[in-house]
Symmetry: C2
């Protein structure tokens, strides 16, 4: 069995990443969502190992020191990170693992997981992005403007990803991601064994 | 419109490349087959510009000298090569171009067309390859053994290609190639314009 892929997915603010991933997970039983470790307290209903790994500051620090964190960052006073262990175990079992990550973290992850496949989800246009933000009807004008400003800063980082998927029609974007998964498994650098096995006496 | 892809496809002897490409061309109207130039005389029914570009030795030599040949080789006394012009015109029109090439030529093509996408079509096993060869019922034992020997020499070159597609079930192999085409179009290095356009005022 060949090793599963590590799929790193980022999107600018309101890029529609969540909807694409939800649909993708419904279609692909071979996919697992990476679970983050955090130092913040669990909220009601949150389960350890499902929503987050809830750890102490000391435990978190130890994981970082031992090189067991794929990426990490502090966010409003709490630490968040992606433990390597579960990701590598799933991949060893041939399962593909999705890692949602902030746009800024996209470049960082390639240093610790050079064989990951990174996808940047881009809106078809800034107009559509704005329309989608307003369509939610949950944010005031100031928040909308802030999110658009953030998106404008994040979009240039798309160049650092392996692939750019334009989120125009949902079904197309999901099929795009599935095509990437399918084709990446055929990359020759992932299939050296295949050739050896073919020629084994 | 974005530039079309140049898809370089090779397979070891009797790898089933022809069947896969035939099916692929039926499914994908955006695909063109590259036409070779040759110095050999046309056979009955062969059309200039469709089956081959029939040229003189001098014309062929001139195309090579002017850097207008993507790859070329001599074969039983005649020269064969892939003229750049038509390939580049199709690609400029957004069409994807398929270039069938000998396994040994796979490494050469990356030097002149570094943005090409190369696919090596591998048999699922040497047993299946042998069975397919015998199944044709057209070759004697000596030819079959020679072809198997050639395939064994060619298969290690699969490493030099971007992708390895295993030709087990035809429909899977065709879907594999289509997934590669689809995903390669999303490569961020091919989509720098997309980001610029998104952020243009």
């Amino acid at each position: 069995m060949s090793k599963g892929l590590l799929l790193v997915v980022s999107a600018p603010s309101a890029g529609g990443k969540g909807t694409i991933l939800k649909e993708l997970f419904q279609q692909d039983p071979n996919l697992r969502m990476s679970v983050s470790a955090t130092t913040r307290k669990p909220r009601p209903g949150e389960e350890h190992g499902k929503h987050y790994y809830f750890v102490t500051r000391e435990e978190f620090q130890e994981m970082v020191d031992d090189g067991n964190m794929l990426e990490y960052a502090e966010y409003v006073g709490n630490c968040y990170g992606t433990p390597k262990g579960p990701v590598e175990r799933w991949r060893a079992d041939g399962l593909d693992v999705v890692l949602e990550i902030e746009v800024q973290g996209g470049a960082q992850i390639k240093c610790v997981a050079p064989d990951c496949v990174s996808i940047f989800i881009a809106p078809p246009s800034m107009e559509v992005l704005e329309k989608r933000l307003r369509g939610r009807g949950t944010e005031d004008e100031e928040t909308i403007q802030k999110r658009l400003e953030t998106a404008r800063k994040e979009i240039p980082h798309g160049k650092n990803y392996d692939y750019i998927v334009v989120n125009d029609r949902l079904e197309d974007a999901v099929a795009d991601v599935r095509a990437i998964l399918r084709s990446e498994k055929m990359k020759s650098e992932r299939n050296a064994e295949l050739i050896e096995k073919l020629l084994a006496p």
